[in-house]
Symmetry: C2
Subunit: 199 residues, 2 copies
């Protein structure tokens, strides 16, 4: 899972028949067009079906529900982000020590989610599935691995949840839009948090 293979936001999509692959690409194109013209909030199973000229059932079979569709839209940028922290250059990727990589991870995540905040906010799962997104589980696993190295005495599993919650896209968006904070302040907050934890 963390050997360099990107983990899709929407779960694995293997062995699709050629027409299903074409279908999927058409639907994602239609959804991207809607997002760029009218914003991510306008993406629904209906609007995508209409824009692609197919029935709503086709969209449902391909993506399950609206959340699955939005997560699929995010797959490409999520894969690039995963490559960056799993196998990219330091300080985010291997080659830097664990403390440096942990320090770099928060700001990279903040910037990545901020860039795609429209889609991430629209794709926010309901409470009972908030921790069931494979890409989020990979981020958690990555932070756990780094924490185990820099803070062997800590409850890494729990602490990784705390660190990730501190840069959650819903919280960050609230602080930026309503709290009058800057992205730089959030990044400094991550650095300060990590530095205090590492003593």
């Amino acid at each position: 899972m963390i050997d360099g293979t990107p983990v899709p936001l929407a779960g694995p999509e293997t062995n699709l028949r050629a027409d299903a692959v074409r279908n999927r690409a058409l639907l994602l194109e239609a959804a991207t067009r809607i997002a760029s013209e009218r914003g991510a909030a306008a993406i629904t199973m209906e609007t995508v079906a209409t824009a692609a000229g197919v029935g709503k059932g086709t969209v449902s079979r391909r993506f399950g529900d609206r959340n699955g569709l939005l997560r699929a839209l995010l797959d490409h940028s999520e894969s690039r982000f995963q490559e960056a922290f799993l196998s990219g250059p330091p300080p985010l990727g291997p080659g830097a020590d664990a403390a440096t990589r942990l320090r770099a991870f928060g700001p990279a995540l903040l910037r990545h989610e901020h860039e795609h905040r429209d889609l991430y906010l629209a794709a926010e799962p309901p409470p009972d599935r908030r921790f069931a997104v494979p890409a989020d589980q990979l981020r958690h696993r990555h932070v756990v691995v780094l924490l185990r190295e820099v803070l062997p005495g800590a409850d890494s599993d729990l602490l990784a949840h705390t660190l990730l919650a501190s840069v959650d896209v819903v919280l960050a968006d609230h602080l930026l839009r309503e709290g009058g904070m800057s992205l730089e302040r959030l990044e400094a907050g991550w650095h300060d948090l990590v530095d205090r934890l590492l003593g």
Copy 2:
């Protein structure tokens, strides 16, 4: 706001006429009955209206929407919790030093939310209103005040969000139900986090 006056989860309810007060009490009784018989998930504007023998419009006028109704149901226990940390005995209330109160706050919040988790989870607001709940804002303000005293150099506003996110009811419920963790482990995690931050 933090002078000892409990802040209601559902916003202030002042100057209600006597019949409106009776009406409100009847609806809350009906909702409580539904929750105890069929669980918090069964509480909807319709089921409460039916159980109270009134129209759905009456429930809407009184509580706005389902979320407002659930928050009103939580008001009583939330007020007791607020009294405990604002004016109750140490270590949670005044009388203990700020570090001790901060250390005590997380476990108290975890236990309080765990006791009412059914209602809290059902009342979880949508992402764009996640930080708009008055009772949550009071908790944040309380942690900020304590942090300013124990960590004058820190970004208290941001750090308070991180601390509260670490014991968020949705996260805690996930860790308890899916992650195989115990409430004691979550409480120890809060203590460890605070101790590391305070150095």
